[in-house]
C-alpha cells in the first residue's frame, strides 16, 4: 500500500507539487493523470526517494519515504519514463546488476531473470548488448529492472510509451497480473483507454494539485461525459490544456 499525505515539492521558487494526498491499496491499480508539467513525475520521484519532499510525507508498505529510504526502495519497483541502458551490457546483465544491488543472487535471481525475459518477450535480445536497442526494447529491459526484485509495490511511468501493439498488450497483461497478485500499482499515463481499462481509481493532477479523484466510471458520470478523456478535458479545462500544449511546444523549440 502507498499512502501519500500532503506531499509538496518546491524547486527554488517553482512549486512543482503543492499538496497531494491519496492512498493506493494493495491489489489496486491507481492511475495518475495530468497534462505535461502537472507534477506527476515529481510525485513519483518523491515516492521512489530520488527527490525529498519539501513538505508532507508518504508511506510505502508502511515505510516512511523520508526516514526509511532503503526499506522503501526495497519494497518498490519503479519504471522511469526516460530511463536508459548501459550500451555495453546485455539485457540479462542489466537485470542481474539491479538484482544484485537489491541483494539478490544465485539460482533464485537467475530463475527470476529467466521468468522476466520470457514474460516481457525479451528472449530474442536477452544476451545482446543494449547498443542499438529500439525504444520498445529499452522500455522492456527497464521494466524488467523495475520488477527483478519482485516488489510488492510498483510505480509505472508511461509503461507502454514507444512499445508496439504486441508489447503493449503484454505490458497491460502484466499490469493486470500485478493486480491479481495483490500488488499495489501506481500508473502514470497519457493513454485514457489504458486508464479506463486498467485503473480501479484515478487522480487527476494539474499544477501540482489533485483536482479530482475516483473510479473512471464515477468521473464520467459526475461530469456527464461519454468517456474519461472528455471528463479529463472538462476537469482540466480546454484552455488550460491548450496553454500547456503551447508552453510545451515553446519549451521544445527553445
Amino acid at each position: 500500500m502507498i499512502k501519500v499525505e500532503h506531499l509538496a515539492k518546491t524547486f527554488k521558487q517553482f512549486e512543482a507539487v503543492k499538496d497531494i494526498s491519496f492512498t493506493a491499496h494493495d491489489g489496486e491499480v491507481f492511475g495518475l493523470l495530468g497534462p505535461n508539467g502537472a507534477g506527476k513525475t515529481t510525485t513519483l520521484r518523491m515516492l521512489s526517494t530520488v527527490v525529498t519532499p519539501t513538505a508532507g510525507t508518504a508511506q510505502v508498505n508502511g515505510f516512511d519515504i523520508r526516514h526509511q529510504k532503503d526499506q522503501v526502495r526495497s519494497s518498490l519497483g519503479i519504471l522511469v519514463e526516460s530511463a536508459g541502458l548501459y550500451s555495453h551490457s546485455t539485457t540479462r546483465e542489466h537485470l542481474r546488476f539491479i538484482g544484485n544491488l537489491h541483494g539478490l543472487n544465485g539460482n533464485g535471481l537467475e530463475k527470476r531473470i529467466n521468468d522476466l525475459i520470457e514474460a516481457l518477450a525479451m528472449t530474442d535480445f536477452a544476451d545482446r548488448r543494449a547498443e542499438g536497442f529500439s525504444r520498445g526494447m529499452v522500455r522492456k529491459v527497464v521494466m524488467g529492472m523495475a520488477l527483478v526484485h519482485n516488489p510488492p509495490n510498483v510505480i509505472l511511468d508511461e509503461p507502454t510509451q514507444g512499445l508496439d501493439v504486441v508489447s503493449t498488450r503484454a505490458v497491460r497483461e502484466i499490469i493486470h497480473r500485478f493486480k491479481t497478485e495483490g500488488r499495489c500499482v501506481i500508473l502514470s499515463t497519457h493513454h485514457m483507454d489504458e486508464v479506463e481499462r486498467l485503473c480501479d481509481r484515478v487522480a487527476i493532477i494539474h499544477r501540482g494539485q489533485i483536482l479530482e479523484s475516483g473510479t473512471p466510471r464515477e468521473l464520467i458520470q459526475k461530469y456527464n461525459t461519454e468517456s474519461l478523456e472528455s471528463a479529463f478535458v472538462e476537469i482540466i479545462g480546454a484552455e488550460a490544456l491548450l496553454a500547456e500544449a503551447e508552453r510545451e511546444a515553446q519549451h521544445h523549440k527553445s
Binding site: 520521484r45 521512489s48 529510504k69 530511463a83 555495453h88 539491479i98 537489491h102 541483494g103
Partner: protein
C-alpha cells in the same frame, strides 16, 4: 540490507566489464602512451637506417676548385661516409663544396679563408651529408690550428684562459639517489611530473565523465538511485575502475620516462664506444637502472594518493554536472590548467624547499616528484608527501561520495 562492500564489488565488476568492452575508451586511454612513443621509435629507426644506409654507401659531394686544397680533398676521399662526385656529373651530388682560389695563399699567410657549402635541398639526407662534411673540415681546421700554434710555440690551453667546471649539489638525505651527484636527466625531471597528470589529457577524463555524468546523459542514474545500494559503495566501485585504468596509463608513461632517464645517463657511454654489442648495451642500461627501484617505490608512494585525489575531485564535479557540456567546460579548464600549473611549479619554485611545502595539496606532490628526480627530496619530505596525500585522497573520496549522495547534485539534468 546491502553492505557497502557488497555494493562496491557489484559496481566495480559491472564498471570494469563495461570498460573492457568499450573499445573507444580503451583506445583513448592507451593510444597516447603506446602509439606516440611507438611512432617516435619507428620514425627514429626509419631515419637512422636511412642515414646508416646512405652513410655506408657514402654521401655524394662535389668539390669545386679541388686542386686548391689537395690535403682537404684527400681527407674527403678517405672519409668512408663521403663519395666524391666527378665534375661532369654535378647533379649526383647532394652538396657542393667550393674552395676559394686563394685558399693556399691565405693559409700560408696565416689568414682566414672561407669554404662555401651549397646544399641541393633541405632533405634529411643532405643534412646528414653536410654534418659529415663539416666534421671533416673541422678536423682539418683543428690540424691547421695545431700547426699554427706549434709554429708559435703555443699550446691549446693558451686559447682558453678560463675553463668552467660544473656540478649540482644534492641533499645528503636524498631519496633514491644514484650516489654520483649531478642529479638525473633534466628531461625526465620534467617528463615524469607531466606523466602523472597525463591521464587527464588522455581518455582518463573521458572515463570519469562516462561513469558519472554519463549516467545522467544515458538516463541510467535513476535506475541506480532507486535501489537500496549505498552511495559510498557506488562511488568506490566506479572510482576503483577509473583508478586502475589511470594507473595502467600512468605506469606506461612512467616506464617510458624511466627508460628515457636510463638512456639519457648511458647515452654518452654508448656514444663514446666505437663498437658495442647488444649485450653490452643492455648491461649498461641495467647498470644505470640499478637505482631505479628506489625511485619507482618513491614515485608510487607519491603518485597513488595523488591520482586517487584527482580522480575523486573530477568525479565530484561530474556528479554535479547536469550534462556532458557542463562537465566538459570544467574538464577543458583542467586540461589547460593542470599541465600549465605543473610546469609553472617545476620551474618557478626554488630548490631546497622546507619540508612542510610537500604537504600542500596538489603542489606538494608535483614539487616532490621534481625534487625526487633532482635528488633533493629527503625521506622526511617523502613521508610528509605520502601522509598528507593519503589524507587529501580520503577527503576527496568523501567529497565525491557526498556529492553523489546529494539530491541537488544528482537530480540536476534529470528529465
Amino acid at each position: 540490507m546491502m553492505r557497502p562492500w557488497d555494493v562496491y564489488r557489484i559496481v566495480f565488476r559491472k564498471e570494469f566489464r563495461e570498460l573492457l568492452r568499450d573499445r573507444r575508451s580503451l583506445f583513448w586511454l592507451f593510444a597516447p602512451p603506446i602509439i606516440l612513443p611507438g611512432i617516435a621509435l619507428c620514425a627514429g629507426i626509419f631515419i637512422g637506417t636511412q642515414a646508416i644506409r646512405i652513410a655506408s654507401e657514402g654521401f655524394p659531394i662535389l668539390v669545386e676548385n679541388a686542386e686548391e686544397a689537395p690535403e682537404l680533398v684527400e681527407r674527403f676521399a678517405t672519409e668512408d661516409s663521403l663519395v666524391l662526385v666527378d665534375a661532369n656529373t654535378p647533379e649526383d651530388a647532394v652538396l657542393v663544396v667550393t674552395i676559394p682560389e686563394d685558399f693556399q695563399e691565405r693559409l700560408a699567410n696565416n689568414e682566414t679563408t672561407n669554404i662555401n657549402l651549397t646544399s641541393r635541398n633541405n632533405s634529411l639526407i643532405t643534412f646528414f651529408g653536410r654534418t659529415v662534411v663539416r666534421g671533416v673540415i673541422d678536423e682539418y681546421n683543428e690540424a691547421l690550428l695545431n700547426q699554427r700554434l706549434e709554429s708559435q710555440n703555443l699550446t691549446r690551453e693558451w686559447l682558453t684562459p678560463i675553463q668552467i667546471g660544473e656540478r649540482t649539489e644534492k641533499s645528503d638525505e636524498a631519496v633514491a639517489s644514484n650516489g654520483e651527484g649531478g642529479g638525473r636527466n633534466i628531461v625526465a625531471t620534467i617528463f615524469l611530473p607531466l606523466a602523472v597528470t597525463s591521464w587527464l589529457l588522455g581518455g582518463g577524463m573521458g572515463l570519469v565523465l562516462d561513469s558519472t555524468v554519463g549516467e545522467k546523459e544515458r538516463q541510467t542514474i535513476e535506475n541506480l538511485l532507486v535501489t537500496p545500494a549505498s552511495r559510498i559503495g557506488i562511488v568506490m566501485g566506479k572510482m576503483t575502475v577509473i583508478f586502475i585504468a589511470s594507473m595502467a596509463v600512468m605506469s606506461l608513461w612512467l616506464i617510458e620516462g624511466v627508460l628515457l632517464n636510463a638512456l639519457g645517463s648511458v647515452g654518452p657511454e654508448i656514444n663514446g664506444t666505437q663498437h658495442i654489442s647488444t649485450a653490452e648495451t643492455l648491461e649498461l642500461l641495467l647498470e644505470s637502472g640499478s637505482d631505479v627501484i628506489g625511485l619507482i617505490a618513491a614515485l608510487i608512494v607519491m603518485v597513488v594518493p595523488f591520482t586517487v585525489m584527482l580522480n575523486a575531485l573530477v568525479m565530484a564535479w561530474c556528479a554535479y554536472a547536469a550534462n556532458y557540456r557542463e562537465a566538459n567546460l570544467f574538464m577543458a579548464l583542467v586540461q589547460l590548467g593542470l599541465p600549465a600549473s605543473v610546469l609553472l611549479t617545476i620551474f618557478s619554485l626554488p630548490p631546497d624547499l622546507a619540508n612542510p611545502v610537500y604537504g600542500i595539496p596538489f603542489l606538494g606532490t608535483i614539487v616532490g616528484i621534481r625534487d625526487l628526480f633532482s635528488e633533493n627530496l629527503s625521506t622526511a619530505g617523502l613521508l610528509i608527501c605520502f601522509v598528507t596525500g593519503i589524507l587529501y585522497a580520503m577527503a576527496a573520496i568523501a567529497f565525491a561520495a557526498w556529492m553523489f549522495g546529494r539530491e541537488w547534485s544528482l537530480t540536476r539534468g534529470l528529465q
